[in-house]
């Protein structure tokens, strides 16, 4: 019989599907992806939280608008699709991100929402990232 007090089942559960921005503890600026120095107030980040504070992770996502896009036919090693669509979006909080587009007929300026899904499959590891789709 398995002693559930000893076995840490949490570590076998898939990680929550989120992409995070990081909040500077000094000035509150949100960053994506995370830097080591805040561009607004020069506060330092310490991933270990030993010398300086580690920054708060804030889920990034939601409504966004499409800034530009492409349908890429020449994919790099590791992708076997005939093509994939990609875009750069701006979220309502002003942060921007690149990611996979799920719409087949994109237009600059169109309204989208973000999801998080598997964007790259590696042996023994799925990589999660942004996927942008129509609202609803």
């Amino acid at each position: 019989m398995i002693d559930t007090d000893v076995v840490d089942f949490d570590k076998y559960r898939p990680a929550k599907l989120e992409v995070y921005a990081y909040k500077c503890p000094e000035c509150g600026t949100l960053h994506y992806p995370v830097p080591m120095i805040c561009k607004d107030c020069s506060a330092r980040r310490d991933p270990s939280g030993v010398l300086f504070s580690s920054w708060e992770k804030v889920p990034l996502g939601g409504k966004c608008s499409l800034l530009s896009w492409t349908r890429l036919y020449a994919l790099p090693e590791g992708f076997e699709d005939r093509y994939l669509l990609f875009g750069i979006v701006e979220f309502e909080n002003g942060l921007r991100a690149s990611g996979r587009l799920l719409v087949q007929d994109p237009k600059i300026g169109m309204k989208l929402v973000s999801k998080v899904g598997v964007v790259r499959e590696k042996i023994g590891e799925d990589v999660y990232g942004f996927m942008f789709d129509r609202p609803g």
């Binding site: 992806p33 492409t70 890429l72 020449a74 990609f86 875009g87 942004f130």
Partner: protein, 399 residues
């Protein structure tokens, strides 16, 4: 600062050289530069060697190639280092060479750039180049340099009304120059009808990253180029009597955000503008003084965008210059007289060195028949790293 002249140049053909060893290719171009400078027997006067390369470790399973190159051409005990700065490695190595001489640390420097990318499949080479993107926010998605160039092009088209036909015209112009360049990877001409608007065009010129097609981007190339530099006030200049030195009049470099989405206006290539501004300032020149230019057209859209950022044309107006023929060999401001990356090819580490090789050829009046610019005084080369996040501009002049 000391004045620095280019006193020797060398180049291999660009193309598929994957049957050859990377260091052999670089050594060939270096030996070519020694011969051009007429110092093969006195080669030990070279104090320092800078080698530009990006993929030796990843693609060719070779490291410390500067040491290997020096030994292959018998230049020991010269100082030697490898410079890796993505697609701008070549011009960065030249900048290191210039700085070494200007600082007084060296009198004679060799700068050699080379790459063998076709040792791997196109699939793998595309992945290799994409590793210069942000690993978490870009690379992981399968995004590539052509993908970002395509998104840049789409925005540019939307804002300035650029058409696919005008993009194709840049490629036609580059190939018209490339066919006359014996070093070009793709030495043939193409007609506008052949790559745009005809039934065949969709087959010949297929989409790679919508709206970019095959003829909107450079090939994956192998090759090497080399330069020999000397301080004009050095006693060692006595060895370089064969040809007049070409002055490195200005070098500027600048960086921009690693993530493309961090740029407030994604169409602004700030590092290009700033690197050019720094080079102009150092040279005491401005855009109107430039006789011709080699601009990093890994994607033909960049020839247009860079020519605007360096001040040749107003924003959104470079396409008109192409339509009017201003950037052709016989135009007012010839651009990419070598054929550019589009027709000549783009072996990453070699490209920046090759661009300056072309400046020297033109300024010496040694360009092949049909692609020599009439009496040029100042030439500019822009070597564009990443998607514009690390850019080096070089201005060379007749002494």
């Amino acid at each position: 600062m000391r004045k620095v002249g280019i006193v020797g140049i060398g180049h291999t053909v660009f193309g598929n050289l994957s049957e050859f060893d990377l260091v052999d290719i670089m050594s060939f171009a270096s030996a070519d530069a020694l011969d051009d400078a007429d110092i093969r027997k006195e080669r030990k006067i070279i104090d320092q060697v800078f080698v530009a390369n990006v993929g030796a470790g990843l693609l060719n399973h070779q490291t410390a190639i500067a040491s290997s190159l020096v030994s292959r051409i018998d230049l020991e005990p010269a100082m030697a280092e490898t410079v890796e700065n993505g697609p701008a490695s070549g011009a960065s190595a030249l900048k290191c060479g210039y700085t070494a001489i200007a600082s007084g640390m060296a009198d004679v420097v060799m700068v050699t750039g080379g790459e063998v990318m076709r040792a791997v499949t196109g699939w793998k080479a595309t992945d290799f180049v994409a590793t210069l993107l942000h690993p978490e926010a870009e690379y992981n998605y399968g995004l590539t340099l052509p993908a970002f160039a395509a998104m840049f092009t789409r925005l540019y088209m939307e804002r300035y009304g650029l058409t696919e036909e005008e993009l194709a015209m840049v490629a036609v112009k580059d190939h018209d120059n490339g066919i006359k360049n014996p070093y070009a990877h793709v030495p043939y001409t193409c007609t506008l009808e052949g790559i745009y608007g005809s039934p065949d065009a969709n087959v010949v010129n297929n989409l790679i990253a919508d709206p970019l097609r095959l003829y909107n981007m450079c090939p994956v190339s192998d090759g090497a180029a080399s330069l020999v530099l000397c301080a004009l006030d050095s006693a060692k200049m006595k060895h370089f009597k064969k040809k007049p030195p070409i002055l490195i009049q200005g070098i500027g470099a600048a960086t921009d955000t690693h993530c493309i989405h961090h740029r407030k206006d994604p169409l602004e290539l700030k590092a290009v503008a700033l690197s050019a501004e720094r080079a102009y300032k150092m040279a005491g020149l401005g855009p109107k003084d430039i006789s011709f230019a080699e601009l990093h057209d890994a994607f033909v859209i960049l020839e247009l965008a860079i020519s605007e950022e360096v001040g040749f044309f107003k924003k959104g107006r470079a396409r008109e210059a192409v339509v009017q023929g201003l950037t052709r060999i016989d135009g007012k401001l010839p651009i990419n007289t070598s054929g550019g990356l589009k027709a000549k090819g783009h072996p990453l580490g070699a490209t920046g060195v090759s661009q300056v090789f072309e400046l020297v050829k033109q300024l010496r009046g040694e360009a092949e028949e049909g692609r020599q610019v009439g009496n040029p005084k100042h030439g500019m080369a822009v070597n564009f790293g990443g998607f514009g996040n690390n850019v080096v501009t070089t201005i060379c002049s007749k002494e």
